[in-house]
Symmetry: C2
Subunit: 229 residues, 2 copies
């Protein structure tokens, strides 16, 4: 029997919990893989909702994941860009993993770990242009694959990206079975989104505020990421 | 200023975490509402993934939610049908709440609390017919509204139901803004599901096994729910 591989989702305080849970649900029970949630410590942490969450393993306990995925969020995710332990873990395992993935602004965390250099990538639409700060080429797609790196757009895009990844890891029949089990046949009650009307002006001040709040004490990162694009 | 109302998501051990987190993410930061996660105790509990979760409030701390929503899952959810504390909480608050909701098999929990009697309702496709055990009329839709009761189909359907509910609570403009923020513009990589090919035969033995595992010691509930339909 082949050795079991590991899919590791990275947890940190304050993240957007659906960024984590969407793909985590899709990528749990993948044949040949165990799926874990890794963090610096097994503390119980706040999310951007009232749910609190706890990892299953520490970074030290999962030194060689085959797949590592970083969820995103607002100011807490930008704060993670300056978290030396988390970034150090990603630098270490990211170079050896078969798949390095992210959801939403989690791609900026990959960027801070130098994992996006010269690659095409995506992120939440409100911060797409910021990817250039990490020498990545921003691409406006639901998810973007470039070599071992797969990045998803905002929040719920992580579900689509994970189903695509499940197809790669376990085949289309298995991925379709998972899609039935999760009854993932979306019917957004207000229909599709018209991206020519995306609320960029509404969102821009929040992004600047998050950058100031999270990286005000890290002028190098702040300078790379802040300001109008 | 009007008194703030409460949206309460019910937590119990072993639930399907996306059933909870999808609608929780959508229904966080609703104008005029605080959103909490309630449970019997503030223990850290397992989910059906490797993520562990903790509520923000006990049942006793949230005696009058305006909206109460019950997520679903497999055997642990069926076990919750016989959890007198949880069912007692739902019986108590469910009669007074403006909205009583569920995701996936969470509707069976509502049924066990006598909240579905004479109502139309839905649940995960694999257990739809079991709703008759609680005098509900099964309806095969993404979500079903009947008076104060709103039930969603399996797992990811909770996101669509929650966006519909957000439209009711905060208006279509606000719900659309949330949809942009969550970038909920799905592109399932394998396309839509063909429900004439749903894996009923694959799933049926799991359902019987869950019922036996969860309700073997509760012959009344087991008899009502088990067996071929």
């Amino acid at each position: 029997m082949a050795e079991e591989k590991t899919i590791a989702f990275v947890l940190y305080p304050g993240l957007t919990v659906l960024d984590l849970v969407g793909p985590l649900q899709v990528l749990t029970d993948v044949p040949g893989y165990r799926t874990v949630v890794v963090a610096e410590r097994l503390d119980t942490w706040e999310t951007d909702t009232s749910l609190r969450v706890t990892a299953s393993h520490t970074f030290a306990e999962v030194p060689d994941p085959s797949v590592v995925i970083v969820p995103g969020g607002g100011a807490p995710t930008l704060r993670a860009l300056a978290d030396e332990t988390l970034i150090g873990y990603l630098r270490d395992v990211g170079g050896r993993a078969e798949v390095v993935g992210s959801v939403c602004t989690g791609s900026l965390v990959l960027g801070a770990a130098d994992l996006l250099k010269g690659r095409q990538a995506t992120t939440h639409w409100s911060m797409l242009d910021r990817l250039t700060a990490f020498d990545a080429t921003p691409v406006r797609k639901r998810w973007v694959e470039d070599g071992p790196v797969i990045t998803a757009a905002g929040v719920s895009a992580g579900i689509d990206m994970a189903l695509h990844l499940l197809t790669r890891l376990a085949g289309a029949d298995y991925a379709r079975l998972a899609q039935y089990i999760l009854e993932y046949d979306p019917e957004p009650p207000l229909g599709r989104l018209d991206w020519t009307k995306a609320p960029h002006d509404f969102f821009a001040p929040f992004v600047e505020q998050w950058l100031q709040e999270a990286l005000g004490d890290h002028p190098d990162l702040h300078t790379r990421l802040a300001g109008p694009r």
